[in-house]
């Protein structure tokens, strides 16, 4: 129990609970099941993409191409749907994930085989992918009346009273947790991020780890691209613009170290939920939505500063305990 409270994520959990309490004092509807359902639905995209981002950050990298990948698979599947309405809509989900995985692999090979730093490789593919989205439909939008009803219903289709969007998210969270904790590839990602030299000497393949994290990140972004476009019923070249930094911010808020090697799936989940709760709270308590960005920025800075201070204190305590 004591160990539980010392974990980094606990600060965010406590702040999340405090936030929920405060908001529900002013707007009792905030914690109603219906509103919680809408918070979760709004946050699913962030959670899934942030989990991919998390793995890239774990190896000390960053993937800025995720939002462009979302726009890419969203546009691609919307066009497939528009011109071949006969293809079952649910097939577009794995199709989007596959396209995303290929895009992620491309970024990954620039890093693993081209030796480009992740930030540069993903800045490059970010502009290229978004450019291709523009070219794909000659700059035009795909609007809801050009999509089939089945396609638009993908994220909201209910199963056991909960939307498929949430089911997919739960599945992804479970898969990510299993991958990170129980598979050798997942442990290799941690090992590689914690101490690159040691991991290399222990036989971890640098190229393999880099390819794995970027492919997963692309795959998850690709999957979300389909959900995003079908949810909002709109595919255009500005889809999810700026979303890549939100995913990084969710990781940072969840206690993932930008230097790599430390962070958990649970932390990312909580970090993303915190953003979802804030965004929803602003509308519930009738705050101007224009304050959203400033509050986000403040929360990120507050989170990293407090995380650093807590880490420092823990380290001082460890040093003090050491016998000299």
């Amino acid at each position: 129990m004591k160990r539980l409270f010392k974990r980094k994520e606990m600060t965010v959990v406590i702040s999340l609970m405090a936030l929920c309490l405060l908001v529900s004092l002013r707007a009792p509807g905030f914690l109603a099941p219906k509103n919680i359902d809408s918070i979760l639905n709004d946050t699913c995209a962030l959670i899934i993409v942030a989990l991919g981002q998390f793995m890239v950050i774990l190896i000390g990298g960053i993937d800025l191409s995720v939002a462009s990948t979302m726009a890419f698979t969203g546009m691609a599947t919307a066009l497939i749907n528009q011109y071949n309405p006969g293809i079952p809509a649910w097939l577009l989900l794995p199709a989007g994930a596959a396209i995303g995985a290929v895009l992620g692999m491309a970024t990954g090979s620039l890093v693993a085989y081209g030796g480009l730093p992740p930030i540069i490789a993903s800045i490059a593919t970010m502009s290229v992918y978004r450019g291709i989205v523009f070219v794909m439909n000659k700059g035009a939008w795909v609007t809801p009346h050009e999509m089939t009803a089945d396609y638009l219903a993908i994220p909201s289709a209910p199963f056991l009273g909960v939307s498929s969007m949430i089911w997919i998210t739960v599945a992804v969270i479970a898969a990510a947790a299993v991958f990170m904790r129980l598979t050798s590839s997942g442990r290799e990602v941690y090992a590689f991020g914690g101490n690159k030299t040691a991991a290399l000497f222990a036989g971890v393949s640098e190229r393999k780890v880099e390819m794995v994290v970027f492919t997963i990140s692309g795959l998850l972004a690709g999957l979300v691209g389909v959900l995003w476009v079908s949810r909002y019923g709109m595919a255009h070249s500005e889809t999810a613009a700026g979303f890549e930094l939100q995913t990084v911010a969710a990781c940072v808020l969840g206690g993932v170290s930008m230097a790599g090697g430390s962070g958990t799936v649970l932390g990312v989940l909580i970090g993303a939920l915190f953003f979802g709760a804030i965004n929803n709270a602003l509308t519930v308590v009738n705050f101007s939505p224009f304050y959203q960005m400033a509050i986000q920025g403040f929360v990120i800075l507050f989170a990293i500063v407090s995380n650093t201070l807590i880490d420092r204190k823990n380290q001082m305590r460890l040093v003090a305990r050491r016998k000299i």
């Binding site: 081209g114 800045i123 490059a124 070219v135 930094l245 224009f290 986000q296 920025g297």
Partner: protein, 361 residues
């Protein structure tokens, strides 16, 4: 017992040293065998000359595609589109050589522009507006630097946060409104010409900033400190380099020059909107990296970045002349960034392989 051991160790060291000398000799041998042709090739393989050749190619291609491209007045006017970014690229060279990054620069523009807009609304004169723009930028940069250096947080984490915070403040204050009330002589800064009415005033300022950046980087102690920090921060610290203060100063100056860019941009477009300069941070970083500054730090110079600025600037201008949409230009920029980094590496690897083949048998 320990003394002879130590002697032994010294002996071993000497052996290593002589081996080192042998290695050096071998490398000289390789150099000698390179011959004039290879040395000539070597010159063309420096990053700057490669970029310059690319630049010439872009100029030639553009003038074939459009007869109006190679007009001096046109080219000078085209510089308006990238001067502000170029001004920020100068301190960004220092930031990246130090191994840091600052992705909040475009948001600092929004914040500076916001305060200038408020002052303009209140009827402030041009000199006051300029001072406000610069001071807000400086303070914002100083804020970043303090968090990064005093709390030892990675620069990317801090500037992701301040990026949202700074632009968020502009969003919160402005909402969907815009400030457009500026004194009439304020427009000169971003739109005016100097030297016989042909050279944009902004471009002159960029030349001055670039000159100062080159001078500081190559001819001052601080410049040497920057390379030392980028190559090995710990070693630099132990050598007595005031690492944290140098980095703090660099972030503050980056803020200051972002403020200067905000002055020019606000004056050029004559209004302040919350989405002003959005997405510029990535353009600026792309330019700096294309200019040969290593993102891992420790390497780079001003000349390469200047060539990269004009290369990208005129490439986009040329594509604009033949009506290529902005999003498609981004594809070209992205590919160029990858090719510019991969190509010299591939050539270098091939050259080494060829050399080895020539020496080994």
């Amino acid at each position: 017992m320990s003394a002879p051991d130590k002697n032994n160790a010294d002996g071993a060291d000497l052996g290593d040293v002589s081996q080192g000398v042998a290695l050096v000799d071998e490398s000289r041998l390789i150099q000698g065998r390179l011959g004039r042709g290879a040395r000539f090739l070597g010159f063309f393989l420096t990053w700057e000359s490669l970029l310059f050749i690319l630049f010439l190619a872009v100029m030639v291609l553009n003038s074939f595609l459009s007869p109006v491209f190679l007009d001096p007045t046109n080219l000078l006017d085209a510089s308006f589109n990238f001067t502000e970014k170029a001004i920020i690229a100068m301190p960004m060279i220092f930031v990246i050589i130090c191994g840091d990054i600052d992705i909040s620069v475009a948001s600092i523009i929004a914040l500076s522009s916001l305060f200038m807009g408020m002052a303009g609304q209140a009827g402030a004169a041009t000199p006051t507006l300029v001072c406000i723009g610069l001071v807000v930028g400086l303070l914002a940069g100083f804020f970043n630097g303090l968090l990064i250096t005093r709390l030892d947080i990675p620069a990317i984490a801090v500037t992701i946060g301040s990026m949202s915070l700074f632009r968020g403040i502009a969003n919160a204050v402005l909402g969907d409104k815009a400030y457009t009330k500026y004194p009439s002589d304020f427009g000169f800064l971003g739109q005016g010409y100097a030297i016989g009415g042909v050279v944009p005033f902004q471009l002159l300022v960029l030349v001055a900033v670039a000159g100062a950046a080159a001078l500081v980087l190559n001819r001052t102690v601080v410049g040497r400190y920057v390379y030392a920090i980028g190559n090995n921060k710990t070693a630099a610290k132990f050598t007595g380099v005031p690492v944290e203060n140098v980095r703090l100063g660099i972030f503050a100056v980056t803020g200051l020059l972002s403020g200067l860019a905000a002055v020019f941009l606000t004056s050029r477009i004559g209004s302040t909107r919350p989405n002003i300069a959005s997405g510029w941070e990535l353009d600026i970083i792309t330019t700096v990296v294309l200019g040969g500054v290593a993102i891992a730090g420790g390497k780079g110079n001003v000349a390469g970045v200047i060539i990269a600025i004009f290369l990208l600037g005129f490439m986009k201008f040329g594509m604009g002349v033949i009506n290529v949409p902005g999003k498609v230009m981004n594809i070209v920029t992205g590919v160029l960034l990858v090719v510019a980094i991969l190509l010299p590496r591939a050539v270098e690897a091939a050259r080494k392989k060829a050399l080895l083949n020539r020496i080994v048998p």
